[in-house]
């Protein structure tokens, strides 16, 4: 089973994403901000991270930069998943190292197709 870490400060979004991911046979863990997510990655590196942009403590972009400096056994795929849907934000995320980008709101087919694109579904 593939593993996915959902990083989002919204419990509702985490719940929706978890439900979809579990139907896609992922083992899911959650973090409420970037700092929690870094701690989770150090403990157990997931195959893919679903990453929100705006979060307290450490934003998605800050997390992405910090992740690059972590001595992880393998770099997880990172899929930004955010309401920041403008081209400038998308470009910034991809240039910072994100593998894919999901614009909220999303549905099961969208998420599944993005996970297939990054090779984890």
């Amino acid at each position: 089973m593939k593993t996915c870490l959902i990083v989002d400060d919204s419990k509702v979004i985490r719940k929706v994403a978890r439900h979809i991911l579990e139907t896609l046979d992922f083992t899911v863990s959650e973090a409420g901000d970037g700092r929690e997510a870094l701690t989770a990655c150090r403990a157990s590196c997931p195959d893919v991270i679903l990453l929100d942009w705006n979060m307290p403590v450490m934003s998605g972009m800050e997390f992405l930069r910090a992740l690059g400096g972590e001595p992880l056994p393998a770099r997880p795929k990172v899929v930004f998943c955010t309401t920041e849907n403008g081209m400038a934000h998308i470009r910034a995320a991809i240039e910072a190292g994100a593998d894919e980008y999901v614009m909220k709101p999303f549905d099961r087919e969208t998420l599944q197709s993005k996970l297939q694109i990054v090779g984890v579904a």
Binding site: N85, G86, M87, I90, R91, I94, E100, Y101, V102, M103, P105, F106, D107, E109, T110, S113, K114, Q116, I117
Partner: protein
């Protein structure tokens, strides 16, 4: 609890028969009795746009006024326009490679292209590969679908299905109301036309690649054979045909056979031997 709440169809049998007959007469496509639930969901947006509460009111309006435009809208609603970018991505990439092996100018026919995601997927692959751009003819029986395909405009949900974000950044622009529009230079590589696979002759000329995915299984067996004959006749001697994953020519056409160059594709019987590599995308 109502029938609708149980997920059962609420449409009356008479209306279902009228709409099924209309769809078959216009397109050759059949809706099986077991799938009559489809009417309710498919016609709901049309009912709302017409200010009608029940399907029976739509049936009455259609039959009282002999309204051709209304009949078109009903047929458009009932057609399955489900599609996405890079649907069955490995096969689409193989299809593009097969076209590139053909002498230029290569020609491609996307039959039943719905709202255009399939021809655009190919156009992006061709443009990124460089070299002479193949001519792409894309057709659909639905006038509404062709209008949408020509506009190249997709909702946030549509644009995200199957399209890698880097390609979206390269080939699409954001537009108001959460729309994403294909760049004019990409759209200009595709000639969109309304075309009925059952009643219309194939577009002029022969093709190196024909895609006709997920349509044949809606057709009656004799119409399926007829359409396959037409597709076979439209292929160049070394051309290939791609059907949907659950569709086949076996037992339905004597002019087509599984392609020896690429698994999942079909070629004309008597196609020249080609020693090129074997593709195994499917």
């Amino acid at each position: 609890m109502s029938a609708a709440a149980h997920g059962q169809p609420t449409i009356d049998a008479g209306s279902a028969q009228v709409f099924a007959a209309l769809l078959e007469a216009r397109t050759g496509q059949r809706i099986a009795a077991a799938r009559s639930w489809k009417f309710d969901a498919a016609l709901k947006p049309l009912l709302q746009s017409l200010g009608l509460d029940r399907v029976e009111q739509l049936t009455a309006r259609l039959m009282e006024r002999h309204d051709t435009a209304l009949a078109d809208r009903i047929v458009d609603s009932l057609l399955n326009q489900e599609t996405s970018f890079y649907r069955d991505a490995g096969v689409i990439e193989t299809a593009a490679k097969l076209v590139h092996e053909q002498p230029a100018p290569a020609r491609v026919w996307c039959a039943a292209c719905a709202t255009g995601q399939e021809p655009l997927s190919l156009a992006m692959l061709f443009a990124e590969a460089g070299g002479p751009m193949p001519e792409i003819v894309a057709t659909d029986v639905s006038a509404a679908a062709i209008v949408r395909a020509r506009a190249g405009s997709y909702s946030q949900f549509e644009i995200q299905r199957g399209l890698p974000i880097r390609r979206m950044m390269q080939w699409f622009e954001s537009a108001p109301n959460d729309q994403w529009v294909a760049q004019p230079k990409l759209l200009a590589t595709i000639a969109y036309r309304r075309h009925n696979l059952v009643t219309d002759p194939a577009p002029a000329g022969l093709f190196d690649l024909i895609l006709c995915r997920n349509v044949l299984f809606y057709l009656a067996p004799h119409l399926r054979e007829q359409v396959l004959e037409r597709l076979a006749a439209a292929l160049k001697p070394s051309g290939v045909l791609l059907l949907g994953a659950g569709e086949t020519v076996i037992g339905q056409s004597e002019r087509l056979r599984p392609c020896r160059r690429a698994r999942g594709f079909y070629e004309r019987v008597g196609a020249p031997d080609t020693p090129e590599r074997l593709y195994t995308a499917r």
